[in-house]
Amino acid sequence: MIPQNFTYQAPKTLEEALALLADGTAKPLAGGMSLIPLMKLRLAAPERIVDLGRIPGLNYIREEDGKIRIGAMTTHYEIETSPLLRARCPLLATTAAHIGDMQVRNVGTIGGSLAHADPAADYPAALLALEAEVRLVRAGGERTLPIRDFFVDVFTTALEPGEIVREVVVPVEAPGTGTSYQKVAHPASGFAVVGIAARVRRGDGKIALARLGVTGLASKPFRADAAEKRLEGTDGAETDLRAAAAAVTEGVEANSDLYASAEYRAHLARVYAVRGLRSALQAA
């Protein structure tokens, strides 16, 4: 389990890092919880690594103008235990608690997880349901994308060569919003066989807002728009939840592996959508 030779660079500033990454030939290293195992198996063999871990100022969770900004190098554990997130955007904190194990959460970062874009990662479901934004930077420029435009396909994001995730922006939840992250964890890897992030708000007795982020089911995480539409305006009765859940998998080509066939995985997604919505409604 020894990686191929590589050049290691540990810049002290973001500018320096972006300059080192600019030509797109180096791989940025954040927490390394996915990249390092891949390198040890030699499935990844980058010639140059730019470690972002020594750059100050990339690790923070703060509220500004009604939004919560999370630095890319913030660890899962910090997100899981952040009093600010627990109080103002609990979905992200509870989702972080489901990632891997304690060791992974202590080292892995939100920016690294997003950039790696494992189709079974946990954050994307929550961030999609939260309609989060990601701020991306590269040498000489930055842009902000809605999270749904960030995920392109399996392990593939909108990041251009030389570009990295700088920050994740999530909303401060309005009162009366209920959220839940429900996951079937693979017993070996801990990755989501399916993971459902549900976010609902009632208004005048009806469901005024419904957001469902889905991970693990397909080649990329996605928002279950049809399910959301089917739920909004209903009373949120059990039959409404089931009807919405049915829409989660419509037209979706589900992943299949040794642990869960496409058929079973789709079934789990529907079951967990109901459970997620139910629990989110209870919290609303």
Binding site: M1, I2, Q4, N5, L41, R42, D101, V184, H186, P187, A188, S189, L258, Y259, A260, S261, Y264, H267, L268, V271
Partner: protein, 777 residues
Amino acid sequence: MATTITKTETFVGKRIRRKEDPRLITGTATYVDDIQMPGMHYAAILRSPHAAARILAIRTDAALRHPGVVAVFTGKDVEGIGPVPCGASLPGLRVPYHSVLARDRVYFVGHPVAVVVARDRYIARDALDWIEVDYEPLPAVADPEKALEPGAPAVHPEWPDNIAFTYHQEAGDVDKAFAEADVVVKQRIVSQRLIPTALETRGVVADWRSGEKSLTIYSSTQIPHLMRTLVAQALGLPENRLRVVAPEVGGGFGSKLNVYAEEILMGFVAMKIGKPIKWIESRRENFLCTIHGRGHVDYFEIAGKRDGTILGLKLKLIQDLGAYHQLLTPAIPTLSVLMMPGIYRFRNIRAEVIGVFTNCVPTDAYRGAGRPEATHGIERMVDMLAAEIGMDPAEIRFKNFVRPDEFPYATPTGLSYDTGNYATALEKAMEVAGYHQLREEQKKARQEGRLFGIGISTYGEICAFGPSPATPAGGWESATVRVEPTGKVTVLTGSSPHGQGQETTFAQLVCDELGVDIDDVVVQHGDTAMVPYGIGTFGSRATAVGGTAVYFALQALKEKIKKFGATLLDSDDVSFSGGVCICNKTGRTVSLAEIAAASYRAAKLPPGTEPGLVSTYFWEPPNFTFPFGAHIVVTEVDRETGAVEIKRYVAVDDCGKVINPLLVEGQVHGGVAQGLGQALYEQAVYDDNGQLVTGELMDYAIPKATMVPRIETDRTETPTPVNPLGIKGVGEAGTIACSPAVVNSVVDALSPLGVRHIDMPLVPEKLWRLIQKGGQA
């Protein structure tokens, strides 16, 4: 004489914390990979990516051109050494030549093809990528039943039927029993291939001293002495020129009860290059190349009366052997046959074993070794018979148990069960679990449409391996107890532990016999240069056999202590207890430390007595021991997803007398966790082409701490007369008992849907599909 205080505190039976734990949990223990030597070189092994292929050419020149690469060895370089030994014999057994490096052909994914020796481990690994091998892939077969089909690819071309051996055992009148039966139930039961997954992978350091013509091999092994004998033979080295050291060993579960190609290879390499060499197995290699366990397809038939009397059991056992025989590979299924009667009274048994070659890594002993497979089958069949005749699974067991007054009980498979009180253990488990109340709860749950199950397994075991005539390479154990001149006590044991805690339990024995403090006892093991020849730790034998050897060594030592005591006290009537020798007439005492000092000073030796206080004992057990117990598991299956929840786990185990309840519980916990692994999560999956697709811990699920439920442990205590300590052994009990209890429970949960049997692992999708189909497989 100085005033001495008689120690009255006893240690045996107490929950003493393990003496070995501080170094283990602070990272200060020395494992193979912690060994560093001047001039040490590193080896990496190139392994076949194909399950079956001809090797057309190997080009090593690119690797050899690198200045850091010292040597590359391939099959043609090692023709004089080996083979990898198989220590088991059966009539007509076909034994393929198991070269330490593949010669013209590879037989499984992971088969070693070349070994690179380099200045550091990084270059060694890099160099693997610089070796080119031309393979001509051949058809492979990975499934033992497919391997038996006509026209299947031949694993070894010389044996096109892929059969390594067949083995038949029969007792009673089976045909009559089945003819007279009211009910016959048949079931195919799979005990899937498992990957032992010791926390520490294997590793070898070999150090050749050319001047002394002596080789030292450090290996993460359960059997240092047997390894010395077998590796010396494989290398053509006189055994007394080889020293084997098992340093700290981080788990084995049977997977290190073996001699592997790498131990021989590293010895060979060290002698070739004249430098110390280190090889550490990666987790990938551990999955691909260290033995797997289980790998049974069993066809069971049970015959019974409507009143619940079991009449007989038939078994056709197909054992997936893999491509070669490792040390005990072909012997493992014969243990399943020995275990077939379980703890029941029926006398009619027929077993047909077919050992089948496949293009997979060999199977061999894994925690329980043949006995979990048998127990799983028996306990499933007993439940199926009970279901068929509408009897409670507890009741059918009570009806068929061998009774307490029938011991020693001669089994139809030729064993003599020492002692047992099977009904008491089950009664106790039922009491702890609240069995009758659970059945009421189940009725209610079923009315609510919930899938609520209660499962029982009542198991017996064959432990304390074993009488030498019945154990390959001998089944005795050695112990030396030495009181040093300062009164400190050193114990040398041949039963080299790999996590069991002998350093604590053996010290407890010493404390009570010699009246010393536990901190004054050091138990040493694992170094053939230090410890007299011994057998090792496996088959739940360490305490029952190795501990007994310590006990007998202590008895002899005590006699000698008394002789020295009598001399020092100038008395002919002394007794020794609590760490002092006392003159029964005057009441004068002399301490053990004083006696020890005098024994080495030897100024005045008792008549006919040698100086020093050292005693060595080789104990040959007259029989195996036969622990038993009853586990009860309550489960609920999620109707929507098929997920299993363990609601209760009750374990009542009877391992005879207990030296340290804390360690016994630890063994039960660990054993149950591994049983749960088999029942719910683990399966080594080879695809049709012989690729191991569960090749990492990302895909192969072993239970993690959060996945193991609270285990309610309790005990009954039925001592064995086989050894004077009354100890039976407990290392494998949890594993043996667990899987049938869990599967019986889940089948019970799904029985309202008509489910009769489910093969392990009980993964949610499998159960969901059964639920979807209303129980029809």
